[in-house]
């Protein structure tokens, strides 16, 4: 049994049914957990398994919900996914656990409009300071002006 599989089995034995879905790749595990257990799973991985390095956090807007992924890991990595509500997205912040999460969470706050509970410094990071509030560029409802090809010069 490979190291990834044993790690996954251990996780499953600790959290049982709360791990909704799992996929194994080479040196990487994708987990899906319920939002209540998101913090606990990450805590388990950081404290018990020593995966102190948070690679990044990703937010994707899917059809019914917004998916937040915390990618943790050094040589073998675990990506912990969870779903938050699309209309009032809110999730607990990882900053107490991993101080380095601050900038990734601020980035998601700007671009996807997800609120993080307990974030120490919830300010704008990547968007300009005078950007209108409530507009989040990475939402699918946000349209760019140039999503059509530019008008070409042709044979002019």
């Amino acid at each position: 049994m490979s190291f990834e599989e044993s790690l996954l089995n251990e996780l499953k034995s600790v959290f049982g049914e709360n791990i909704v879905e799992s996929k194994i790749f080479k040196r990487r595990i994708f987990l899906k957990v319920s939002p209540e257990y998101y913090y606990k799973v990450v805590e388990f991985l950081v404290k018990e398994k020593g995966l102190y390095h948070l690679e990044t956090m990703t937010a994707t807007e899917l059809k019914d919900y917004i998916e937040i992924i915390a990618h943790l890991g050094l040589s073998t990595s675990v990506s912990v996914k969870t779903a938050v509500d699309k209309n009032s997205p809110k999730i607990v912040s990882l900053c107490n656990l991993i101080p380095g999460a601050e900038f990734y969470e601020r980035e998601i706050m700007d671009l996807m409009g997800v609120e993080f509970d307990g974030h120490p410094n919830p300010k704008r990071l990547v968007l300009p300071q005078d950007w209108p509030t409530g507009v989040h560029p990475l939402r699918k409802s946000f349209e760019t002006r140039h999503n059509q090809p530019l008008r070409n010069v042709g044979g002019e």
Binding site: P149, L150, N152, V153, G154, G155, E156
Partner: protein, 131 residues
């Protein structure tokens, strides 16, 4: 080499001469070297352009079969497909080109070629349209 003056336990003065020397000898060596700068507009012949440089684009109409693959991979909408007497063909607007070379790469008949010419500035927009 190290020069140091000590009174009891206190080093009053110390100077490691060879520490400075490694940089100084390099400086003096460079004094007699030829300059590294290429005075570009004056010394054009000194500018070395290697084989396979991705410069101004050339198009051979006779080879083109009108497959529009180049149009599909172009990231910056440089290419427009028009129809002439022989059928479909691309027209390139180099003002938008990023010289990534994807079209040259994907062309099945090698009718697109990026030349070694890197001076593409023009006062007229029309010079930048490759037909």
């Amino acid at each position: 080499m190290e020069i140091s003056i000590t009174f009891g336990y206190h080093t009053v003065f110390d100077c490691e001469v060879d520490r400075v020397m490694s940089m100084l000898s390099e400086l003096l060596k460079n004094l007699f070297k030829k300059r590294a700068t290429v005075l570009y507009p004056e010394e054009k012949d000194k500018v070395h352009v290697p084989e396979g440089y991705r410069g101004k684009l050339e198009f051979y109409r006779e080879k083109c079969i009108g497959c529009t693959l180049c149009y599909q991979v172009c990231p910056s909408y440089t290419i427009e497909i028009i129809t002439d007497e022989k059928g479909k063909r691309p027209v390139f607007n180099l003002a938008r080109c990023t010289y990534c070379g994807q079209c040259e790469d994907i062309c099945p008949t090698k009718s697109i070629h990026l030349t070694k010419q890197f001076e593409i500035i023009s006062l007229d927009k029309k010079d930048l349209v490759v037909k």
